[in-house]
Amino acid sequence: MTDHDNAYAGLLGDADPHWAFGTGFTDPLAGVDPAVPSEVDRADLAAYCLMLGDDALVLAQRLSHWCSRAPDLEEDIALANVALDLLGQARLLLARAALVDPSVVPPSAQPPEDALAYFRPAGQFRNVLLVEGVDVDFADAVVRLLLFSVHRLAVLERLTGSSDAVLAAVAAKGVKEVAYHRDHAARWVVTLARGTDESRRRLLAALDRLWPLVPELTAAHPVQRRVAAAGAGVDPSTVEGTVDAVLAEVFAAAGVRPPAAAPVGEGGGRDGRHTPALAGLLAEMQEVARAHPEGAW
């Protein structure tokens, strides 16, 4: 090492690959055929990838807050593992969005997936409001994860038939992961509902709080409808029956009834209309990248 003023200089470049572990992220789609099916509008497909990718990225960030604060060490690790899976899905989807339509990527010295994650303002994020909320307690976290993953699994199962080969591959991999995220969350919902009076009270309160955010998951955005009609995406309104059936199974095992006709939340996340919670989350997630816009990781 010749740069004596910088103790970290040796970590960069082609140092021993076995110890600077997890640095120097390379393109997750390196060498993958970038072809886009001709029937699909590129701007639509990129927006569609951002919707799926931002859902995963934002929930990954939220879940990682639980590391060191979950009920036990095993749960710290479990939620961190779930977050890592979702972060991996987000990386592939953001990289795909950037390949399909480079105009979605904000100007930055960073690779496109990082530019999308760190240099977009909240108004350009296309995630649903469910994933951005701050967890009031652990019951909130597991109910949020259940509602999200039941829906995402149903979407990904159908997306394996996408005419876009990259989306189909990301979905096929994601199905394996989101299936155990869903089962993990469902077991916790049953455990809390059948636990103590206090755990049941908190579980029911979380369900009441989050239930109004469910309709946005299956409300079809015009972009989703068009990409679905072109054969590359899934219209989320078509998974409503599947989602309801799985949730009914969980609620029956938990001995809880889903809240009746709750006031429906505003939605708007797919068009960049978010709650202040997202701005707070992004301020933390983006801080280091924005402080060092030329930084190498």
């Binding site: 199962e157 990259v166 394996k176 992961e177």
Partner: protein, 171 residues
């Protein structure tokens, strides 16, 4: 003669790529793990295809670097590592030698991965699998957590010898 040389180059490149070990499970080579999907030589260029185990696998970059370095050592200066996303990796791709190596290092190898067509059914009970303690061989193992130090491992404890151990989850 040209063909023989090309075949020898490809065999040498394949051997160099197959020697590379997984950074998280160093008792396994990338070939044993099923992550190495192909090695081909075209002129002076070697193309290596690898697939991630999980979407968020943080080891892909390290695997690429190690492949480039091993191939450079075998005399191949121009190496391209390509990500192959489809078909999705399965623990069924772990070789018999890899499974033996896992067990020898105290990690219970995976059973057959679930095969299904259609929606994944909800599982509310603990996952059903036959797990043997890699230390004493007992099948009386208790699940401690479905999530271990890496995405691919679950934590068990042997009810017979009381030792904790890791199991590679079937996916």
């Amino acid at each position: 003669m040209v063909t023989a040389t090309a075949e020898a180059a490809e065999a040498a490149a394949r051997a160099a790529a197959e020697r590379v070990t997984d950074p998280e499970l160093p008792m396994l080579t990338l070939a044993d793990l099923g992550v190495l999907r192909g090695v081909s030589v075209d002129g002076g260029t070697v193309e290596v295809a690898i697939t991630p185990t999980y979407s968020g696998c943080p080891a892909m970059t390290e695997m690429s670097r190690a492949l480039v370095s091993s191939l450079a050592g075998a005399g191949f200066a121009d190496v391209r590592v390509r990500v192959e996303l489809s078909p999705a990796w399965s623990t069924d791709w772990i070789s018999p030698r890899g499974r033996r190596a896992l067990a020898e290092h105290g990690i219970s190898p995976p059973g057959p991965a679930p095969r299904r067509s259609g929606p994944v059914p909800l599982t509310l009970g603990p996952p059903r699998r036959t797990v043997h303690c890699p230390r004493c061989g007992s099948d009386r193992a208790e699940l401690v957590s479905e999530f271990g130090a890496t995405a691919c491992r679950a934590l068990y404890r042997c009810a017979a010898c009381a030792e904790p151990f890791e199991h590679v989850k079937e996916i």
